[in-house]
Symmetry: D2
């Protein structure tokens, strides 16, 4: 049997997304290895059993170490809270499993570094959950940039805003504590933005960052008062890419009305390309071509001309969804395993993203420009 055995740890937002991707990736793509849904791990055991049945896994366990040790498992998906990624990934790699791990890698840069070293040493394949880079619209934007459709890149802007921490009345949770959650908006969503910007404009050389905790305290849920929020609600930075191009980065988890506002503008010497995830099937393109009287931004609807859209739907403009991005991400990972090639965003690539967000935080704390080479 050539199918790949899968173990999935976690059944929340991302756990379900991984499960759905495993269930459909071969049916969608055709050209990827098949997968067997072997083990689902969650706690307590009842939840693992229930969700294992719902997702179609052969077995369920409350002990993720059982899953990692299971010889029928070749790939381990890690979708647990951020603080657990590192230990799980190291264990899975040690057990000889390929790892598909959600972002960010770890609470600290040291944790991420250890994961990267282990992955590199193992020869196994790793993939981080930077799903937005899997969007055919993003791939098309990268291709347009690479092909010179907008000339030479001269400026890049990126933003990522959500409002899940906008309400001052939300109670304090462990997410507000540095030692449990690590970074705030930078770790939750800022890293996604870095994955897009570096995909478009190459590696970052240095950052000049600023962070802000908008709600300094949050009420304790037992009504006994309030506790401090230790990590950032918002972060902004001036970026300098290795290419010399300058850019802007901004992230907020307290941006009322924004639900999945993750986007960019790439300014070039001959045009501009714009994207925003809240309209994830659209790309805006301006090119300084032809009659000035008919120039303007063109709204490109994702279509079979933007692979692998056509694997989902042969009709243009019919819309992919968020979960489809996970399918594309997984397909790339499965092909890398099969072909023994490097996955798009493995732990080594991911470490560079972690460096960028930690550099922004460091720059903000120390009030100075920080080069990624220092990190």
């Amino acid at each position: 049997m050539n199918d790949i055995g899968v173990g999935l740890i976690g059944t929340g937002f991302m756990g379900k997304a991984h499960a759905l991707a495993y269930r459909t990736v071969r049916a969608v793509m055709g050209d990827v290895p098949g997968v067997r849904l072997e083990v689902l791990a969650d706690t307590p055991a009842e939840k693992a059993a229930e969700m294992g049945a719902q997702f179609g896994f052969a077995r369920a366990t409350a002990d993720w170490r059982d899953l990692v040790a299971d010889p029928r498992v070749q790939v381990v998906s890690i979708t647990t809270p951020n603080g657990m990624h590192s230990e799980m990934a190291l264990a899975a790699l040690a057990a000889g499993k390929h790892v598909w791990c959600e972002k960010p890698m770890a609470l600290s840069l040291e944790g991420a570094r250890a994961m990267e070293a282990a992955a590199r040493a193992s020869g196994l394949k790793t993939q981080l959950g930077y799903n937005y880079t899997a969007n055919p619209a993003f791939a098309h934007a990268c291709r347009l940039v690479a092909d010179g459709a907008i000339g030479r890149v001269v400026h890049v802007r990126g933003w990522v805003d959500e409002d899940y921490q906008a309400d001052p009345a939300l109670p304090w949770t462990w997410r507000a504590r540095l030692k449990d959650a690590g970074l705030g908006a930078l770790g939750d969503i800022g890293c996604h933005l870095i994955s897009l910007l570096t995909g478009l404009a190459g590696p970052i050389d240095s950052v000049l960052g600023e962070i802000d905790t908008i709600h300094k305290t949050r009420p304790l849920s037992d009504g006994s008062g309030a506790a401090p929020v230790e990590n950032e609600d918002a972060a902004s930075a001036l970026l300098t890419f290795v290419s010399g191009v300058k850019g802007i980065f901004t992230a907020s988890r307290s941006a009322w009305g924004r639900k999945s506002r993750l986007g960019f503008e790439v300014h070039g010497t001959e045009g501009m390309v714009i994207f925003d995830q809240e309209r994830m099937n659209e790309l805006q393109l301006f090119r300084n071509r032809g009659d000035k009287a008919t120039q303007g931004f063109t709204t490109i609807l994702t279509a079979p001309e933007h692979p692998p859209y056509g694997a989902f739907c042969p009709a243009p403009g019919h819309q992919l969804g968020f979960n489809d991005l996970k399918v594309i991400e997984l397909a790339g990972f499965l092909r890398a395993i099969r072909d023994n090639t490097r996955p798009a965003l493995d732990f080594t690539a991911g470490l560079e993203i972690e460096k960028a967000i930690h550099a922004i935080a460091l720059s903000a704390r120390e009030g100075r420009r920080v080069r990624l080479a220092e990190m």
Copy 2:
């Protein structure tokens, strides 16, 4: 075993969409019966085998009658070209199978009528592929209308435009022949629009229609000349609903730039609600409430507040896709089978949609208002 055995006929656009829905519906929803992918039918046999493997079916066949006869199959999905729906659906019903059939029902109203009669007589469950009614945004629009958020409905507009027949250079195919394809834009996409408008404003009483064949002939692919296009590229109608409300309907398969432009405006005495499938995760709502200085159309991004969005994703605004609509559609059908209730858009409901599109064509041919009661 309580799982439901599935047979799928067809592996094209809709065949794949059905397959993906079957593969994920239980993982997404949790509360629906499980399904077993028993048989896939397509021709030739090699294709059936290949796609059966890709989609994960247990068996494949080149003879759909085998599939229909298979005792392990309880539900038959029909996703073949329109002209084959009727025969297959009748056979499946005769064999005691529930039927999930793509729209339109048949080439002629008579064919649809026969299907409806057979379904009603059988006591089996049927579901037509009106996937756009499964959109949580549409469900929310219906709820807003029903709850009086925009007051009493006073006017309805709907449009459905694509450009798959916009290019005059596209070669002639059987789709242009009345006896093979039946209606043109009305059957392909107009029926979808009727499904939305009647969902919002109730049944239609009469229509005043007009049809147009924009490209009168198309080149034969062998270069030997051109052949006539016998069905309509575009259709428009003035609608009167049973409620007395008036509306407008317009459909085109030759609307350059439109890829999946299916939408509506519902005008009420206290507000308006607007939708367009090309931005399927958005709803526009105006209400005459509060300070005039802050009134305007509000763009509502689909979110867990709009069930069953949350079954796909707990985070708001993260976007559903086209294939997700099929999952919701299927979930409703499986629940109806399990609970022995009436599915949302069964053959009986579908027959009313067929009457509407055939009434528009009849009105156009005879130059007179046509009441649906005549049909």
Copy 3:
């Protein structure tokens, strides 16, 4: 002195718009005759005096017949309620004055016919207030259509919606009485839409119309009950142009949330062009050209490439406003007077627009297709 003496009747919405246009047209355009603001007429006399001073007129009067008779006046602007246009225009023409008259021409088609006959017999210049045709974006749309940028026109859609009569609680006024107001939405705003559609697609051959009075009665302002609304709140029609092209027309004065929603789609064999007045500085253009992967609707911002935008502002995308349209309209009229050429929308052209809206009303009343040749 070669300046043209101006008399303005009315100081409301359109009266002010005419006054502002007269005050700036030469400063904007340079190449048009100068104007002298001679007489302003309104009632009562105090209002005429006050507004005359505000607008900068040399004299004011409460008797519009004095204005018409004034030998220092060569052009008469008529901006009074619709029921007064006809008498004033006939008097002005009889007095040898050129006439700039707001739309619609008259309450009845007969009234419009009389105005047209008088204008034709007089040899004087007339201009109707179809200001939306003066928009550089509209001119550009017409040019694109004429130049074949979207191929052959195959379908046209137009809409015009406002919400000034959407609120059921608004009191009954004379505007609801047929003999005082004539048509409802068709006369107020539907005629504007006809001016755009015929500008784009040529004259209309026949219509199949429907009208609707959404609020059947309105409360009397003295609290003594309610009175009937005798004219239409909404109207829709299927149009056939002389060219054979088919189209749709829809108009509502009870469309909540719409403030100046006047727009169109022109479908062609090679593209589409779209406009909406609520974003009056934008045009959407799709052309089936070049790489499919970068096709889409282009948003063209009005700019100096779209004359006479540059006369207002040399910088692109800086936005014209509603009152600027009146300046362009007036400039055309003044040039026609100076050059003894035919103005863009004189009473003869305007009569065709009146025929169209009355044909829609007649078609709706009689339930049959009405040809404009009958009118």
Copy 4:
């Protein structure tokens, strides 16, 4: 005679805008002093004469000092290239004239400081051309913020992008030389953005800036090679307001496709407000109120509820244009002169804006945070 005598220096983009504003301000507003168009100055004399006639000035001159000295002139409008503002403004103030001067004030901060000191000492009224603050939509945004509609302000973003220097093939001009043009994008358009951001969020405390010259050289128009561009094409900054709120500033004159992209997001604890000048009649407002299922950004179309929109047009959503902003700006200035009150953006307020843009440039040059108090 109580009318105010006007002298206008310059007849370009802004010269015409001032002329049009003078011609219409009283007709639009009613409640402002009348103006007499006394003298127009430009070179050569023929141009002054021609444009004087077109704009309706009583006299024309090639020597702006004559204009300044003219006793019939009480207000001097300065619309010449930036390098001339300072000398003209000082001369006009010395001659006892009120001054309406285009932005930026001067090439250097010292120049601006001298203008401010002279204005303060004179007791005369001054107004800078920050027309975008005159937009009723902006005034409404400020009111919403001030009234707490979005709660406490927690983050501010602003951008201003145009593409007038995007094309690398554009020839070198004096605008690229520091001593002739002073700042680049910061002076041309960045100052406009500062005027909006400080209007919304109060004074700026410090900046961390970065500038970039995208096109390092430009071709000499005589074909003899290329010359260096000495000032910035783009600038970005992290802002800290005196209130402690943080923000982002970004400006580019080389942003292809952007024509007048000047806008902001104000993030609050209970909502967000967004504006962009390319759709200058729209404001986006999100408030965390009411049913989550109907929350979203509301697009508010400017209307009579947003004064002084109604002075231009009594019908909502009918659109103001760029030149209308100058009318509102002028009306405020004339009222300040009449009432002896402080104009909205006089030289003292303007100096703070100049400090901000020069602080960004200084911060970029020195690679350190710069406090405005240093400037």
